[in-house]
Symmetry: C2
Amino acid sequence: MSTKLKILETALKLFNENNSQTATTNHIAKAMGISPGNLHYHYKNREEIIFKLYLQLRDEMSLSIDELPKNIKELNQHEKLLVKVQWKYRFFFRELLFLFSRDRALEKQYIKDNLAHRGRIKLVIKNLTTSNELEIPNEASLEYLVDSILMSWQFYTSHMYTLGHTLNENLSEAVIANTTNAMKPFIKDK
Amino acid sequence: MSTKLKILETALKLFNENNSQTATTNHIAKAMGISPGNLHYHYKNREEIIFKLYLQLRDEMSLSIDELPKNIKELNQHEKLLVKVQWKYRFFFRELLFLFSRDRALEKQYIKDNLAHRGRIKLVIKNLTTSNELEIPNEASLEYLVDSILMSWQFYTSHMYTLGHTLNENLSEAVIANTTNAMKPFIKDK
């Protein structure tokens, strides 16, 4: 693995263990046994490392339009992948709005990507009405359902944390159950 | 206003403007025109200030059991108050899980209070079934609805922010609309 990639991997580990602010670039360099100068040859500062980690996470979770789930079974499969990516980059979702306040370029990029992500969720839900698995009475219900699914993906694990649940790799069940519950009132032939 | 309270007010203003980490206790003292020593006479460190601000916010939003909303109209009224408190202490909700990673005593207290808060929401929903406004088919639906309402209160404004909405004092409409949408499938005589 190149030093450039190894820095990202080490930073991710340290950020996940506690938070992104207690692990300085000096800590990251020390944990790898390289000099701070060597680290700074690859990355200007911690914000650049976090931005690169975000781009990695985005690439790992994104599907192209023609790969989108076409039925609830495929959707659940895809959600399992999403939850794994979320767990891998868990510091990012824990600190989301705080990280935005530290780096407005990250905020701008995330919001742009998130709007596209929301658009893809809407397409998936429309696929599920086409395949006759869901019946959505009106546009307002559609918008609400899309937001519920996106909010679940972004914040449901944080929500569980605020209720004292210990988070671990096997979160997929709970997140998928939450999404299923959101869709339940719209499932045909219950 | 006492210096002790004025410190809290100044810290809250600075935290809301950007985040809780860029405003050090030295910045807070400087903004008030007092010495760092004077500030530290009242509060040991920034964590103590944040903890006190959390206790304030908790007291401002809490209702005793006999004041809980008994119908949807009263619930909407109460939500208007909750959203105002949330806006006043907005840095806190933006940084929630990050703040926990900085102060495990805060995390412990918040989770304890949040579980009690969840219990009160459940009581309110049960009131709404008693008053015949809602019909909840089973325990699983009840738990899901209670979580949806609590998650909405904790994270819906953050969710809106991740979609590029500018947050302001008039958030109540959107948060109340989200809660109403969550209850919609269970409202009787739609």
